[in-house]
Point group: C2
DNA sequence: CGGCATCCTCTTTGATACTG
DNA sequence: CAGTATCAAAGAGGATGCCG
């Protein structure tokens, strides 16, 4: 991309990460951690491989990402965020926070990846009973499963397989999101095809307005 | 721009404001307030008018900006940010905060506009003596003058003409910025062509590390 | 496979000129 | 002042091929 040629901090930032796809590459590395080329491609549905390649070279030369040849058992090079790259987290998060307003309904053709649940989880969920028992919720949306881990008073999204979840949520991404954000009650979710197995009272601990909506 | 087709909050946000120039248009409206087409064009050096026009239409249909026909004495329509548009402030600010690292030197050919001093002012300057006397610094960088107003413990950038500033700073944008950010001492600034007239001790009140650098 | 590079078409951009 | 018109050049998107 051509630089803006403006001596302004915001324009200089966009000179580096303002190209199409660039901030989404950073999003993937923030959500997934160090990635192979293929992992990035999977997390960026729609990107042509030559563009991914070109963007990575640009971000690498700008010092946002770096490649490291990993020792066995990985046996490939992984793409990491540098310190400078991690400092883009506030940018990506504020964008996501602004963008949640468009998530009410899923457009036809929209693709979903489990790791994108990270934003709603950190935005909406917190543990109302920080000294209660730890628990785990498995979330299945058609992509690989993700896990909401409630532990030591914090709520985190995990992408690795976790044994014996206490609750399993299964359904379309927008329905699961509606439930987690408190915009949909459990009964509304179930009416829209959500399947729940396990003690639903656990949701009470972390979902905003859950008590209210479950009464209604 | 084609939508990313991803059911992800960050991608949805970029579907709306991810086009080239879009976030800079928002930057101008945040810094300048409601603008005429021509004011925007001046604050976005390098933008072709058809692109500005096209972006404004897109942002308007997305609900980020709106046009309002102003009564006399304005006698033209002004472009305003909507509430949704103002909520992009954290996005633009976090971008600017990330981008200040590229401001150490001004690239040849870079254009500068006074209103862009708003970011460094809110990022770097605060009043160390909130109960001291109010004062005003006029900053002249070749573009129209801007004023740093220190009043009631807060430091703000003003773009309207203000009478009788207590101090006048005059010099190239990168030198003025170096001084305001504390990366340049007063003597280094003067050695680089900065002209100062008035009681320089006032800078002590608001510039980070000023005491240290003025000693060194 | 994983990690790109190539080719081709289509859209967007940038620069300039022009109009109500 | 507030745009639209025109046009060349650059970039994006999609398919496919190569090479360890």
């Amino acid at each position: 991309m051509k630089t803006y040629g403006q001596y302004c901090a915001a324009a200089k930032a966009l000179d580096v990460v303002g190209d199409r796809w660039s901030l989404l590459i950073v999003r993937e590395l923030l959500n997934q951690g160090p990635c192979r080329f293929t992992d990035l491609k999977y997390g960026l549905p729609g990107i042509p491989p030559n563009l991914l390649s070109s963007r990575l070279r640009h971000l690498e030369s700008a010092g946002v990402v770096e490649r490291r040849a990993e020792p066995p058992p990985v046996a490939t090079t992984l793409i990491h965020l540098t310190g400078m790259g991690r400092e883009l987290e506030p940018v990506v998060h504020s964008l996501a926070e602004w963008g949640v307003r468009f998530m009410a309904t899923m457009a036809p053709g929209d693709v979903f990846r489990s790791q994108w649940l990270g934003f709603p989880v950190s935005l909406y969920l917190n543990d109302r009973e920080p000294h209660g028992q730890d628990f785990t919720i498995k979330v299945d949306t058609g992509d690989r499963p993700a896990y909401i881990e409630v532990r030591d008073g914090s709520v985190r999204l995990r992408l690795e397989t976790m044994a014996e979840p206490d609750l399993i949520l299964s359904g379309a991404p927008d329905i699961v999101l509606g439930l987690l954000s408190g915009h949909l009650s459990l009964s509304q979710g179930v009416a829209s095809g959500l399947e729940v197995s396990g003690p639903t009272a656990l949701l009470d601990r972390i979902v905003p307005g859950y008590a209210a909506t479950s009464l209604g």
